[in-house]
Structure formats: C-alpha cells, structure tokens
Amino acid sequence: MKAELLYAFLTLSAGLFSLGLLGLLLRRNLLLAFLAIELLLNAANLNFLAFSRYHNEPTGAVFVLFGICLAAVEAVIGLGLVVRVFRVQEDLGFAKLSKLQW
C-alpha cells in the first residue's frame, strides 16, 4: 500500500474520531455519550488496521481483536451503569448526574 493511501485511511479514522468527540460533547445523555465512545474506539481500531496493512504484518489485526473485546467489556459495564442510574433517578441527562450512590 502506498503512503498516500495510508493517509486517506488515517484521515477517515480522524474524521470518525472527531465525530465521536463531537457526539461526546453535544449529547447530554449518558446512553448516547456511550454511543459516541463506540465511535472513538472504532476510529482507533481503524488506525491499527491501516498501519497493519501498510506494514503487511498481522500484529495490528491482533490488537484490533483485543480492542473489540475490550469495547464489548466497556459496553457491558457502561450499560450496567446506565441501568443502575436509571433505576435510581429515572433520568440519564448529564445535568442530574451528580451521584453514583445507590
């Protein structure tokens, strides 16, 4: 793969990362903020794979596999927290999200 093509893939990844950042800053809701975090994680994975392809070397692909597994764990813990918070105060807005006690 040529370096220019690598740059195109990295730019796509940067665009996804910026979208995720934008979503994280704009959506003032716990669940939708987690949705934006998934976008951020995917941007990182895309970078790993682009460089893996550039060097023709499977290590980056292995790290993407790890990243997807950790994203699954993060989603499960985060969604557990969402359910927990909803049970306590029935409002997932950031404005009322000031305590994590039960």
Binding site: L35, N56, A95
Partner: protein
C-alpha cells in the same frame, strides 16, 4: 484508484452513520444508524484486506454490542422527548470549533506519514490488491504465539466484565433494612 473510490463510498457510509448517530433525536434511530456506520467500517476493514476482522466487526459490533445498546434503550424506555436537544448558539459553535480544530490538527499531523519509507515487506507488492495479512491463519498464528498471554488475560477481563455487570444491576438490600 479503485481502492480510493471504494474507500470514499464505504467511508462515506461510516461517516454518515456516525453523524446521524450523534444528531438524531430518537435514540433507537441513533443506535440503528450507528449499526449502519459500523457496517461501513466493516466494509473498510474488508477493503484493507482484513477479512477476519471485518467479519468480527459485523458479528460483535453490529450484531452484539449495538443490539445490547438497543436492548438498554428499550429497557430504560428512553423517549425522544427525554433526550436534551442539541445546544444552539455559542456552546454549539465552540464544540464544533473544538472538534473541527482537532480534526484539522490530526489531518495536518498525519500528513507526515506520506514521507514514511515504504516498508521492506511491501516494496515488491505495489499493487492495490489486498495482501493476506488479515486472514485467519496469520492473525491466529500471531495471536496464539506472540500474544498468547494477553489473550488469556483478555478472557479473564471478559469474565470480570460479566461479574461486574451482574453485580451492578442486581438489586441490593439497602443499609436501612
């Protein structure tokens, strides 16, 4: 060139899905459009020649993680009117400036990869055809030789996540009772 066109189409799908996911008011539509975006990213993985990870992306991300999101959206019965609207005016402009500026910084900083020397392994394969680095045999060989211990740690992490999530959502006795 063909790769670039395919990248434009698939990356456009991914970016459009992501953009709709962070702007749509109805949370169910937001999650579903992120599914479309994840399928676009999976297409980009296929384009990069990583067939195995493209399949994993479809199965685990679009199939499992986002469906769990969908379950939780329905479980906490998030209605569109529960979602605070996207702020207008100054906060919106500042946020757009931060995200757009960050995108600009990234695009500018990443420009230096164009000057990278072509790696030795890729020198004799200058075509746009995908290589076999991302198919199952090389990935699993690396995974189970060089990264066998991190792989085992990862399974423990999944177990910890499972236990932690079930502890988080179970009903606990209060201290008063």
């Amino acid at each position: 060139m063909l790769t670039l066109i395919a990248l434009g189409v698939l990356g456009g799908i991914a970016l459009a899905g992501g953009a709709m996911a962070i702007t749509l008011r109805n949370p169910i539509y937001a999650v579903l459009s992120l599914v479309v975006g994840m399928l676009g990213i999976a297409g980009v993985y296929f384009l990069l020649g990583a067939e195995y990870l493209g399949a994993i992306q479809v199965i685990v991300y679009a199939g499992a993680i986002l469906v769990t999101f969908l379950f939780v959206v329905m479980l906490v019965s998030l209605a569109p009117e529960d979602i605070p609207p996207i702020p207008r005016g100054m906060p919106l402009y500042i946020t757009l400036l931060v995200a757009g500026g960050w995108m600009g910084v990234l695009a500018y900083a990443l420009r230096s990869v164009v000057d990278l020397p072509t790696p030795a392994q890729a020198q004799n394969t200058d075509s746009d055809l995908p290589y076999l680095y991302g198919t199952l045999p090389p990935v699993s060989k690396t995974l189970f030789t060089a990264y066998a211990f991190p792989f085992e740690l990862l399974s423990v992490t999944l177990l910890i996540g499972l236990i932690g999530a079930s502890l988080l959502v179970q009903k606990r006795p209060t201290y008063e009772s």
